[in-house]
Amino acid sequence: MDAILNQIFAGLSMASILLMIALGLAIIYGAMGVINLAHGEFVMLGAYAAWAIQTYTGMSIIMALPFVFVAVALVGWLIEKIIVQRLYHRPLDTILATWGIGIILQQTVRLLVGAESRFVKGPEFLSGNTQIGGLIMSNYRLFVIFFSLAVLAGTWALMTRTEFGMKLRAVIQNRQISECYGIEAKNIYSVTFAYGAGLAGIAGALITPLFSTIPTMGTGLVVDAFLVVIVGGLGSILGAASAAVLIGEATALFSMLFNDTLGRIAVLAGIIVLIRFRPRGLFPSNTRR
């Protein structure tokens, strides 16, 4: 019983990280129809930004989060302005272009910082565990779970409760008429892309105490995040959240029943079956494409 509870907790922890990465992907796809293959590298940049801030200023990663968000969002904003914005009418090319951008970012970090794993210290005040009966929960993982819920709530509020969110929803539904009413769609796209990148950056910073910080760390994570987005329904925030929990939990439970490799196979097989019956995901939304 305790083993199961602990696996459920591990699954939630996994889900919280996937959620933050997948949210950015889902928003970028939902708004612009862009499949951003450089998203994993935004996660990686966030991790390295946290490492750099901790190494050079001694700041804890929690304190560094706002700076990481702004830094990675800025990178995302530049990439959108310089490259992605020119390709909105060529969706297939955006896939290739963002993949290329991902490789460039990865190799740049490898050249500048080196290929070896970097160590980032978790925050002191979150070290230790909380124990309830046989359930042992790392305080840091608990924090990440609650933080990801806050990010989810914040993103939801941004989309539904702010003028920016209203403008974004208007542009998603009818770009031309939105422009006729003073909304500069290009700027909305840039900010949305930057926000998605910033979220990935935060996720990257938060996982530094849990994962090894290496230039290729984003690649594996982005695959899982894509699975979350596809299962959740492309472009849907609610879908991304529920799919993150589903995949995180399924991975954890299958890994306990079999082993990591077989668990992974079982999850992928499950997703294939699910997509067979719900090709547009759990909560499909009406996006532009």
Binding site: M166, K167, R169, Q176, E179, C180, Y181, G182
Partner: protein, 233 residues
Amino acid sequence: METMRARDLFSFYGKSPVIQGVSFDLQPGEFLAILGRNGVGKTTLLKSIMGLTDRCEGGLTFGDQPLLGLSTSQRAQLGIAYIPQGREIIPNFTVRENILMGTFARPDGKRDIPDYLFEMFPILQEFLGRKGGDLSGGQQQQLAIARALAMDPKILILDEPTEGIQPNIVKQIEDATIRLNKERGLGIILVEQNVPFARRASDRFLVLDKGRVVLDGHSKDLTDSVVEKHLTF
């Protein structure tokens, strides 16, 4: 108030020039009707004013401001409100949100919905919380006009506002259009198939054929023989 001037305006979809050398003036507070058969470029001319075609050449100014270098949203912010054919309200937005969307084009950044909109179209007040997509065609047209007025425009551009709308609302929309012109002094460019309405409401008219102006004049000169010659099939 500004005058809108088009001089030898060409407008393209891809490489084909749909509008070929159109010129017109719209004085402040003037009501211009654009007439013509189907497919002669009336809608394209309106879209060209908003910058929604692929490319434009020639002269198009609003006051001293050349429009052709501006983005669609910048043109809107100058006070040019466009109500497209088919209305194109946002179906997932509530009536209130749809009207609020009009205020995004206000250069002063205010987000107030003027009260006179609801005097003009009381049904919108009643349906404020409903989704725009749940309204009837006529109500959607009223909503589209209200959205345009929420930006406090100087010019209203209407593309067949009475097309496909139940007759009792057609009258309301026609009266509202005339009132906006006469009482609030809004300049209006109207594309219309309904010639009697165009004749009654407008100060001047122009007839398009194959992307060119073939006739223009004062609306009192829009006689039956003119209609016979240029507008019947």
